[in-house]
Symmetry: C2
Subunit: 255 residues, 2 copies
């Protein structure tokens, strides 16, 4: 029997500690195929590149590990893997481990999560992992253990259809993590503050911001789980229709 | 009473015919505030820029029309408008009219739709319009009429909460458009074909592709509507949780 083929994506680039962690973690489970942007591409969402050509470089080709980098976005890289570089459809896609949170609506802006949605569009079980720290040299020991446990849980699922998971891990020592919670995505927004900086006599704007939780205290949300020491697992949909609203609008439609 | 304030976004840039169309169409309904990427930014999804500063330039400041351009993405531009440039919260956000389809999962990759989701996060009624042609000099006469009718319909809605619409308009003469249909988003994927091009002795890859409809013939989908001469209106959700899957996974959870 063929070993499972696991496609690995990320948005922090080829040399991030989170990527090294996920490669190390997944080695026992199958043949790994890494295809990521060579440089960091945070905040790229599901951006795609079709107005210029993309570069692909092979970094490694060892038994059990093929490793490619591109100069595209995370989604470009996954599309290149699926449609050009891989000789068969992968069995799983794993993205991350991202340096920084992708909970609540940050999932929308995230290249890590964007890559996972591409896996879901291709109908393979796909998981995004993110650790709640931006430290380049973060301690991934606890994150790796829990990510492994979650991956084994996915392996064990009888029904692997529509497995498209956004996993966020609090940055806590292992003994302070309270467990894993299946959650829904928190509704909220980012309240940006653009810092003004003068560059060559011109005012330019640097995006910073803080998250505003519209559902503070809702115990079934990912924000609540993370705030309370749990790992948050949100199943994502590839259908962005608001079905409730669709029904309501049909009732008042004038067409 | 203050006139409604309408924020206008797009991803085709400041000089696109679709933007000129939407400005002309919306002038009778309120004060317009345009904030868009100066150059085209198709396929930018909800990408955001926080690793460099952003430029903002004022193009116009006339009664009823303020017009700014940025060197950021469509979502950057909307965030700049909300958080830096506008003196009050807008009453509506309209994005487009995009040159090219944003139906089915193309909505995910689209900067036009990305901008609209940002409006939804800020809880204002938001509409993305796209016309199914990439022609720069497309004929927008029919599209403008129908877009106006849809905007007036939104104005007339008693309950404007969660109005977050993705509207695609077939590129047909007005008398061949059969009407407007409220739809759900089609499930499908893009099957990419990367064209190989030699640049300076190196093989590079150009993304092209074709859409694969997983639900061909489903009459309640946007793809069906467009194929059959209807304008497709899909209400989008700002909650990307797969609630059905969440329930199922809770039943088999080992945590």
């Amino acid at each position: 029997m063929q070993k499972p083929l696991i496609l690995i994506a990320n948005d922090d680039g080829a040399y991030s500690k989170g990527l090294a962690t996920v490669i190390n973690m997944l080695k026992p489970y199958g043949d790994l195929f890494v295809c990521v942007p060579e440089q960091g591409q945070s905040g790229q969402s599901q951006a795609i590149t079709f107005t210029r050509t993309l570069q692909v470089k092979k970094l490694k080709d060892e038994p059990g590990l093929r490793f490619y980098v591109t100069d595209g976005t995370p989604t470009d890289s996954v599309k290149l893997a699926f449609n050009k570089l891989l000789d068969r459809k992968p069995d799983f896609l794993v993205s991350g481990i991202n340096h920084g949170s992708n909970s609540s609506i940050s999932a929308y802006y995230s290249g890590t999560v964007g890559a996972v949605l591409e896996g879901c569009f291709h109908e393979i079980p796909s998981i995004a992992f993110s650790l709640l720290t931006h430290l380049e040299d973060a301690d991934f020991v606890a994150a790796e253990k829990y990510a492994r446990r979650l991956f084994e849980w996915v392996l064990s699922l009888e029904d692997k259809s529509d497995v498209c998971l956004n996993v966020n891990i609090p940055y806590l020592p292992e003994n302070e993590i309270k467990g894993i919670k299946l959650c829904r995505q928190t509704i909220g927004k980012w309240q940006e503050e653009f810092l003004e900086q003068e560059v060559d006599g011109e005012i330019r704007y640097l995006m910073t911001g803080s998250f505003v939780n519209f559902e503070d205290g809702a115990e079934d949300t990912d924000e609540w789980a993370l705030k309370n020491g749990y790992i948050a697992v949100v199943p994502l949909s590839r259908d962005s229709t608001n079905h409730d609203k669709l029904k309501k609008l049909k009732d008042v439609s004038i067409f």
